[in-house]
């Protein structure tokens, strides 16, 4: 039996195919296209072709993420918060807090046995999301992947105290003008973003184990800061696909629930009409 989850995020779309034991058989990660319905169809076609299967071979599909309503082939839509919780708990069963830093938003989720206990999301501000890194990298004239690598060499990390992306840009410019090392600035950038997200997540309480997900968590820079700030923090190998994985797991759950209900209905019918 096969199940599928598709997560259409604001910047990245992920699709995951799992078997009945919840093993990932295949996954695709692409930049989100503005024409989401067509894009979702194309991505599904690619997945089916790679796995040499037909769409009818998939028992259930769950769509999640900002664009979840634009997935014509989904059996159900579920929010990314619930899907993240399910996906991360599959990889890290002891996870109690998820810190997700995405391209356009960030969130904290308290979980237990794969279920959401509480959550918090960023408000109308880009500081604390991947966009913060993009803007500051533009100021530094380096790529985001370079920033992570450079930050690992920092010896005297700098504080970026501004909580606003635009003001942080100005702060960076002033550090550059003073001749501060790029390594220390880079670490400061990661620390600033992580601390901002952390102060938001503290509102729901941080309990160990903590798992860091989302596109930003791929960076070694943020991982170093996370290790410095938290006691027990873990990173999935594929932090981008945890939401889609969770969606696929929930697709399986929904399918099994429906099957169980159908079975009970059949049994009831047998009792009512055939057991004379």
């Amino acid at each position: 039996m096969l199940f599928c989850g598709i997560d259409i995020g604001s910047t990245i779309t992920k699709i995951v195919l799992i078997d009945e034991d919840e093993n990932i058989l295949d996954s695709i990660v692409r930049e989100t296209s503005p024409r989401q319905r067509r894009f979702a169809n194309e991505l599904m076609k690619e997945l089916l072709s790679r796995a040499s299967i037909h769409i009818n071979d998939i028992e259930a599909i769950v769509a999640t993420g900002y664009g979840r309503v634009n997935v014509p082939f989904a059996d159900r839509t579920i929010t990314e918060i619930t899907c993240h919780a399910a996906g991360v708990s599959k990889i890290f069963p002891d996870a109690r807090t998820i810190v997700d830093i995405g391209g356009q938003d960030s969130k904290g989720i308290r979980v237990e046995s794969g279920r959401v206990l509480n959550f918090v999301m960023n408000d109308k501000c880009a500081a604390g999301t991947g966009r913060f890194l993009d803007v500051l990298c533009e100021t530094l004239g380096i790529s985001v992947s370079e920033l992570g690598r450079i930050s690992l060499r920092s010896k005297n990390p700098l504080e970026i105290s501004s909580t606003c992306t635009v003001f942080a840009q100005q702060e960076l410019a002033s550090y550059i003008a003073k001749g501060a090392s790029l390594e220390d600035i880079a670490y400061g950038v990661y620390k600033a973003i992580f601390q901002r997200v952390l102060s938001m997540v503290k509102r729901i309480g941080i309990e160990n184990d903590v798992v860091l997900t989302g596109g930003v968590s791929k960076s070694e820079g943020i991982r170093r800061v996370a290790r410095d700030e938290l006691k027990r923090v873990f990173f999935p190998k594929e932090p981008l696909v945890t939401g889609a994985l969770g969606a696929a797991i929930l697709a399986k759950k929904i399918y099994l629930q429906k099957k169980a209900i159908d079975k009970r209905k059949r049994e009831l019918l047998e009792v009512l009409f055939f057991k004379e």
Binding site: I81, F119, V120, K124
Partner: protein, 441 residues
Amino acid sequence: MEKKRTFKASEVAKRGYSLVKQYLYQRAHDKAKEDEPIAWACPTVIYGPFCMILDAMDVPAMAMDHFGAICAVKDVATFFLDACSKDYLSDSLCGYMRCTYGHAFLAKELGKMPKEAPLGGWPKPTLMVERSAYCDGTYKIFQALSRYYDVPVYFIDQSPAIWHKNLEEYRQRLIEYQYNELKDFALFAQKVTGKKLDEKKLDKLVRTNEEIHRLWREVNNLRKNSPCPISNLDMWAVIAPGFWLPGKEETLEFFKELYEEVKSRVENGVGVIPDEKFRLMWIELPPWHGLDMFEYFLSKGAVFVIESFWYSQFMLPVEKPDTVTDPILRLAYEIPSYTCSAIEMAKDEALAWRSQFYLWMAREWKVDGVVSYPLLSCRAPSFSQRHAEEVLFKIDSIPSLRIQGDIVDKRAMLPFEQLRPQIDAFLETVAYYKEKRERGK
């Protein structure tokens, strides 16, 4: 054209607006034309006592809150807020009051009432009345407005109730204190306006208002039924006559009809929506500029069955001995008694009484989830919200969603498209805890 509603709206509640238009705004404009005195009065709980004392002198009291809220509903609040900022007032002051100040500032600058002012704005006051200290965001604006119009402002001292070892004795002291304050105010108002207070009229107003509050409380009690018979949107519309037309016969008639309508819905099993999945509580004042958001909740089967804010204190009856015949003393009973009763109900001294009041409401109205709305420009009702969320979650496993914003300033709130994923995730969490609680039964 009237907006088509996706839920069962109250036929009676929608008449509240026209009552306020006629008996508050129109009356004020008529009085102004006749060169009769007009008062501008402070917000919420204590407005009723002020308003009735003034009404007994045939002086209409204008409600600053209502003007701010209606500006937000009509989407002109930012226009007046910006006008207020132009005169160098801080953006962190009360949104209602900044709208009022902004419209007064523009009226003076233009030499006439700006066309954007809903219901023709407020005419120039003869006097003003406000509480000292209790609501810091309004207090200074009254001072500024008083200088602006060169009219006297009376600051009444309203003592906030707190934990006390001997609550009954403390309540009596507060009542006595408020009684003296109200009496002094009545003398002041008579002196300034040259009008005499009609005690018989005041007595009638006060007793009618007590009946209005009883009916209001009963309507809220009917919302304990499932399906909930009346929406939060209608209950917020009811505030207009309930708060701003205290003691009036017309208000009493309105509440009688409302009670009958809601009661009939309960008897016939009519709910706000046909399929009530989740029962929610809204903590504190709503975003008057963003009421459409609630239709989204309803589309997901989530009904707000109770809202807390200052008026929620009317949910508790005020015990007044029959021997109290002085109408001003009866009014004085109302000011500290709501809070004292809520404190009395609180069982655990280690938890803030207000949080325990929220807990009481959540249990009484069988709430599955809570949405709290801390207000940027209204601090007093916002300060205990985080604690309340914690208490509700820890004690009764009731999850909450916090939405940041303001009563009138739409710029302070997250755009709905960004809010929607949070609402969806919250409702999934609510479903989980509801299921868990039901399994545990």
